[in-house]
């Protein structure tokens, strides 16, 4: 048996041919499903349980939240287009679409800030009733995840305009994209269960 190093000895060898970071990240997202499932369960368990108002029908704004939902969906579109841009080696496309993700994600956060402030003015705080507690903790953690995503995209955008995102870096952008889409699909569930199925 030859004593020369084989392909398996390369420190990039994998048993599946799949990028290790991608395997790890999909696993992490499987884990995050449980985190949000527990928060969503808590909200669903406490539907109708508040002993005092404000109640959901009084404060939830469907038209406004529909727009912010649409905005977030479009930000996911921008994300795949940004990845496409990086894969093609187009600094212009990648930078433009990454900027769009940031703008649209930031817009979503803006809507959330407005909504939260408005609710507090209406008397709905985290301590007011179980609706307030479960609503703010669930959507707050989601919003925190969006915020982390926006920061992540800002770093990628900065790298892109400096020409530091080449096709060889596509995996980094792909993983950032997976995170962003994940945050979007969690919102799909939240929008339906909290806003549409009051």
């Amino acid at each position: 048996m030859s004593m020369e190093a084989t392909a398996a000895d390369d420190h990039d060898y994998t048993s599946t041919g799949l990028p290790t970071w991608k395997v790890g990240f999909w696993t992490f997202m499987g884990s995050e499903c449980l985190f949000f499932a527990s928060l969503i369960s808590t909200y669903m368990v406490y539907k109708g349980a508040s002993t005092t108002g404000p109640f959901p029908a009084e404060v939830l704004n469907i038209p406004l939240t529909s727009i912010s939902t649409f905005v977030l969906l479009m930000s996911s579109t921008a994300m795949v287009l940004a990845l496409d841009g990086v894969q093609r080696g187009s600094r212009k496309l990648a930078s433009f679409w990454l900027a769009m993700v940031i703008v649209l994600g930031g817009t979503f956060l803006g809507f959330q800030v407005y909504e939260f402030t408005h609710f507090v003015h209406e008397g709905l705080t985290i301590s007011q009733n179980v609706f307030g507690s479960s609503f703010f903790v669930l959507t707050g953690f989601h919003g925190a995840h969006v915020t982390v995503g926006v920061l992540w995209m800002t770093i990628l955008f900065t790298m892109s305009v400096r020409g530091k995102l080449t096709p060889a870096d596509a995996l980094k952008v792909e993983i950032a994209g997976l995170y962003w889409h994940f945050v979007d699909i969690v919102w799909i569930v939240i929008f339906t269960l909290i806003y549409l199925l009051q």
């Binding site: 990039d12 799949l18 997202m29 369960s41 995996l171 569930v189 339906t192």
Partner: protein, 110 residues
């Protein structure tokens, strides 16, 4: 080159077919339309009794579209599907179980 870059370069083609930009816009359009339909149904009183099943189905479709096409899961290795669906299915189970225990099963009173 960093380890990350070397690995990425070696695997840059593992993802299978690359969708066209047009395809992505089509998916985006479908997502927008479904969202609009969901909101419209919300306002149609006649559909109120069937609201939950309809909305849950439509949302599930949106969820699947983003996962399969934007996250590319449909074209990637089944291993990614495996590790993700493992968590997703347990999460779905937890939500359903707690809803059942709190809203659909009689408890001991008093």
């Amino acid at each position: 080159m960093s380890n990350f870059e070397v690995a990425a370069e070696a695997q840059v083609h593992e993802g299978g077919s690359h969708a066209s930009v047009g395809f992505y816009w089509t998916i985006a359009g479908v997502l927008a339309v479904i969202t609009a339909v969901e909101v419209a149904i919300f306002y149609i009183d006649a559909l109120a009794p069937a609201l939950a099943p309809i909305l849950l189905t439509l949302s599930a479709v949106k969820f699947a579209l983003v996962v399969m096409f934007f996250m590319h899961l449909k074209f990637d290795s089944k291993i990614f599907t495996g590790v993700f669906v493992a968590g997703l299915s347990i999460g779905a189970f937890v939500v359903v179980a707690l809803i059942m225990l709190y809203h659909f099963l009689p408890r001991l009173e008093g």
